[in-house]
């Protein structure tokens, strides 16, 4: 049976990738299971300069999911290149560096640095909802996204994934703009901008007021977005959004995804990554799937 899939020349041993921001740089989860069993790991979101992230509550349980407002706390691209990559290279899996930014200059400088480093792919986050001034702004308007992706494309020698926000004005137009601007692949969706209020304190739960919603609650909408985008673009798509089971993985792949990312489920079950790989093998056997690539985009 074949579980491996290929995105722009990079082969994943299976289509399961740990989603950025939920998995650190892989080290912690590797204490629980061998993370080399995963198809890939997308690093904690990196920015040009180190960031402390947001104050106050950062994670919050919601019906069928959770909200987060971590605010891209990270050691910065330089420290990642110096220390982080070597640690991640201990794992036999595709190394994706996820990068966010505050300005066009940040994105271009960061991409230039990462492009020279020992990473397999660059995932450009134009969609973080939790960083003021910039962050999500790049992910809302297709024309703004086109500019930043074009600029990064010019300096990026690695396969370039652009991670899309479901908060985009029009996700299909956004996807097409990124494809035209040179993205080699798209990953979608990031978290949905959402809100929670502490009625006793009469204040928002999060200091930033809004935060990103993830988990099962967003799965059907994410699936619809992946499907609509896959019908229009020609580059491979990585599906993300409340994927908890092997059945969910097949659904996203039938909708057109070449691979998937798992995020929130890691918190519900810290062994989820390993269990999903095992369960996917079993499910494909049950469903009579010889090669997982057969089912990509059949719907």
């Amino acid at each position: 049976m074949t579980l491996s899939t290929t995105i722009h020349g990079i082969t994943f041993k299976n289509p399961i990738i740990a989603a950025s921001g939920t998995f650190g740089f892989g080290e912690e989860y590797n204490e629980l299971y061998d993370v080399s069993c995963l198809g890939g790991i997308s690093s904690k979101g990196l920015t040009l300069h180190p960031k402390d992230g947001n104050e106050g509550i950062r994670v919050y349980e919601t019906p069928a999911g959770m909200m987060n407002s971590v605010g891209l706390q990270n050691p910065g691209i330089e420290a990642f290149i110096r220390d982080g990559i070597a640690n991640m290279r201990k794992f036999d899996t595709v190394l994706i560096a996820n990068m966010g930014g505050h300005s066009m200059d940040d994105y271009v400088t960061g991409a230039t640095m990462l492009s020279e480093a020992d990473i397999d792919m660059l995932e450009l986050n134009i969609s973080c909802p939790n960083v003021k001034s910039g962050g999500m702004a790049f992910g809302i308007k297709a024309e703004v996204a086109r500019e930043v992706v074009s600029a990064v494309r010019k300096v990026c020698k690695k396969p370039l994934i652009v991670k899309l926000s479901p908060n985009a004005e029009n996700i299909v137009e956004m996807a097409l703009a990124c494809e035209e601007a040179g993205a080699d692949a798209l990953s979608l969706v990031n978290t949905f901008q959402a809100m929670a209020i502490d009625i006793h304190r009469r204040k928002p739960i999060f200091n930033n007021v809004y935060a990103g919603l993830s988990g099962a609650a967003i799965r059907p909408i994410a699936l619809r977005m992946v499907h609509s985008v896959c019908k229009q673009v020609h580059v491979p798509v990585i599906g993300i959004g409340g994927i908890y089971t092997a059945e969910d993985i097949l659904a996203f792949m039938m909708a057109g995804a070449t691979a998937v990312q798992i995020g929130t489920v890691n918190f519900n079950n810290p062994l989820a990554g390993k269990e999903l790989v095992d369960n996917l093998v079993k499910l494909c056997m049950q469903e009579g799937i010889q090669d997982i690539n057969e089912i990509i985009g059949i719907i």
Binding site: V59, V70, P270, L271
Partner: protein, 244 residues
């Protein structure tokens, strides 16, 4: 750190909203001041719940917790024989091995239970322990401290038992080689200030909402004088001088 299923051995209701859950330890490591992530649901709730170790015996682990929301409400419904998932032991606990002489434990509210295991381990390490435990009104867990402490000081805000007022009113840090504190932030801040004044070393245990519990998601980071620290991994116990 391990992720494993265990069996509930007992559940006691101590007060209207405080419970003690005892489960099979199954060989899991556990030290004073550490915690476990617990869950007794599949997907009905997303996140596991961090609960500190109240007592770690050879074959059992106990958790004393207050029902504050849906997760702890589900934990409180568990009965002997039920299955529960645990991830742990997690985090950095109290520096028991570095202690000598006399140590004061200062706890308030649900910061009291983790100090019970701490008292036990300090005593086993040959350190003399005094406990200062402050309640709003109703006492709990006092008898669990008795075998491990030389003196126990009690306060209640209502004056129903012991000293009427805050437990920090009773603490004289200069009498101790170190102070360990766990409880409401306002209390720990006061303990840290008293210790700083008398140059007594002080460690505090921080509480935070968390998602992964193992240091990956950065959902529980707090600002310290040494930069951002993860409550779940670098803590929950920190030298108070870097926090307050």
């Amino acid at each position: 750190m391990e992720y494993f299923d265990s069996i509930v051995l007992a559940q006691f209701q101590l007060t209207e909203d405080i419970f003690v859950l005892t489960v099979e330890r199954k060989g899991a490591p556990a030290a004073a001041g550490q915690f476990f992530m617990l869950k007794c649901w599949d997907r009905e709730l997303t996140l596991m719940r961090p609960i500190s170790i109240f007592e770690a015996e050879e074959d059992t682990l106990s958790f004393m917790y207050r029902v504050v929301g849906e997760g702890t409400r589900k934990l409180a419904e568990l009965k002997a024989g039920d299955t529960i998932s645990l991830l742990g032991a997690l985090g950095t606990g109290y520096p028991i091995g570095e202690m000598h002489g006399k140590v004061a434990l200062v706890g308030g509210g649900l910061g009291i239970p983790p100090l019970c295991q701490t008292a036990k381990e300090l005593t086993q390490h040959g350190v003399q322990v005094d406990a200062y435990i402050g309640f709003r009104d109703q006492l709990f867990a006092v008898e669990d401290f008795e075998p491990h402490c030389q003196s126990i000081f009690i306060s209640t805000e209502t004056g129903s038992e012991g000293y009427k007022g805050f437990i920090t009113d009773l603490l004289k840090p200069e009498q101790y080689d170190a102070v360990f504190t766990c409880g409401p932030e306002v209390m720990m801040r006061k303990v840290a200030a008293l210790c700083a004044e008398k140059q007594t070393a002080c460690w505090c245990s921080m509480e935070h909402r968390m998602a992964c519990g193992i240091g990956a998601c950065l959902g529980c980071s707090i600002r310290t004088t040494e930069g951002m620290k993860r409550v779940c991994k670098d803590g929950p116990v920190f030298p108070s001088k870097i926090i307050f």
